[in-house]
Amino acid sequence: MTVSPEKPARKLSMKQRYSALTHDLDWAPTYVQEEEIFPFTTFEGIKVHDWSKWEDPFRLTVEAYNKYQAEKDRRLYAVLDGFAQSQGQVGLTDARYMNAMKIFLQGIPVHEYNAHRNFSYLARYANGPGARFAALCQSMDELRHAQTEIHTLSHYNKYFDGMHHWHHWTDRVWYLSVPKSFFEDAMTAGPFEWLIAIGFSFEYLLTNLLFVPFMSGASFNGDLPTMTFGFSAQSDESRHMTLGLEAIKFMCEQDEDNVPIVQDWLDKWFWRGYRLIALVAGMMDYMHPKRVMSWKEAFELYFEEQMLNGLFKDLEYYGIKPPRHVQWAIDEKEILSHQVYWVLYQFSHAAAFSTTIPNAEDQAWLEANYPETWPVFKEVAWDKAQRVMDAGGRYFNPGLPQLCTVCQIPMGFTEPGNPLVQCQRQSVYEGERYDFCSDGCQWIFDREPTKYRQAWLPVHQIFQGNCGGPGGLPAVAEWYKLGPNDGAEYLGSNDQKNWLAWHGQTPKEA
């Protein structure tokens, strides 16, 4: 055998490797129609003339993906091991910090898994190879996120209440229907709407508000594992943001007729996503014992500065305008977290987290960060709650709240410009009345009433006897599988008692 004297071929460039993986492995079908292979990409009305124009700026290949994802996991699991071995839970700022992580565990990992499912559907059913491969990577990322979040928080489950039935709670408990309805709404839309809903509106526009200040907050409160999985997930998130941005630009560039459809979806999903992360506002301002920044500052930095002054100037080129109800969100930034946490406080006897009145240090911080709105909420809500505590009681709302039909958050939001008047909107559809917390949610319902009339609203279901029967709150709590120590007031809770015991204190010294 003669060996050729030729030099080995030069290594391919990044561009060539990416092209070899995507476009070079694609082919035009000859014995079936394209629509038979990809039957789901036409019914939404989006026109695509050339799928090969979809490019992933990351130019990721299988080899690079595997190499760096493996390294990310190695780093994360080393941290988790070290934290567990060194009893890291003792070094948190305070046990009440865990309440924010309880809501996170109960509300997020299942939907990471749902995102994994829907992106694998896209990895099969998108017509173009660039879109399919980016969706495949994101699908694997989302599965990794579900797994790493569960692994990370399983350590805390050994030491804290409110974590043992997180998966069961995701599907049943009232406040967890907020994220559940959001993701199921997106999953039951078509593939292009999904890309605008999750890829663009959630990942690019809003996810920074969920992960960045929250994970920096974890770092500030001694929660090393959460910080590490958060940043590890966020490094994938940068790719997801890129996919979302590529999706909206691709649709707008392919056909002018796509622009109004995309704008409608953007208007809808901005508001859906914004209402979902209202929970984060309450967690950031009230549940973190030490705070990196306020919700208001995070909103200004990560949304107003980056998105409104940066991104939307870019999208103007395509005729895309900022989301329809964006001004409402800007106007709410001073009051959002106060309203959300007050709802959580009143109903935490039926929840798998505990709440408590902001202590003197918290109140000083709230006063400094919300000088105009905090004094109002302090007077109308917290001073009264404190008087009840001083008399040996604890204020819980004994009724069941009305929920917004679209976002499913209890109706605790107020009219623009008047933080003391509850906002209530109503639409009548086929003789039935539906209620909403805001113009944004009402607009979403009116666009698709046949979809939202099917909403599984926890309070309606309780009244109909579908959540443990007609036995009132005890029956509902049993159906939820809530233990006696999972919710209610933080002061005097098992979590607090354990925390004090670990640090050699008794409740009086605290």
């Binding site: 460039s13 990044m14 561009k15 700026p57 990351f58 130019r59 990721l60 690079a64 190499k67 760096y68 390294e71 990310k72 996810t207 920074n208 992960f211 960045v212 994970m215 920096s216 907050g217 770092s219 500030f220 910080m227 940043f231 966020q234 490094s235 998130e237 940068s238 790719r239 943001m241 890129t242 941005l245 990196v292 920044m293 500065e305 980056q306 998105m307 002054n309 940066g310 991104l311 100037k313 870019d314 103007e316 080129y317």
Partner: protein
């Protein structure tokens, strides 16, 4: 008309740790008028117009080979668009 891209900020949030020190130094060296903000665990780098990451500058400070894919290990989030991600350079800017 939209504001010119040169006057609008773009930026990137990186994990602030020892691993990324050389990367941050390279970005600082290659981008004038960089604004830096430190938050717990995060270093945030912003700049008007274009933000450039050069492979050669990173390798020089790191003292070992560094492929641009490795930037994924450091990044937490960004704003702007990756207008270029090649073997030798990553560029973040707005397009329009």
């Amino acid at each position: 008309m939209s504001a010119p891209t040169a006057s609008r900020p773009v930026g990137v949030d990186l994990q602030e740790n020892e691993e990324n020190r050389a990367l941050v130094e390279a970005i600082e060296a290659d981008n004038d008028d960089l604004t830096i903000r430190h938050m717990p665990g995060i270093i945030r780098l912003t700049k008007n117009g274009r933000l450039v990451i050069n492979q050669a500058s990173v390798e020089q400070r790191l003292g070992r080979p560094w492929e641009t894919h490795e930037f994924q290990m450091a990044i937490i989030t960004y704003f702007g668009e990756f207008v270029e991600w090649d073997d030798d350079q990553i560029v973040i800017a707005w397009q329009h």
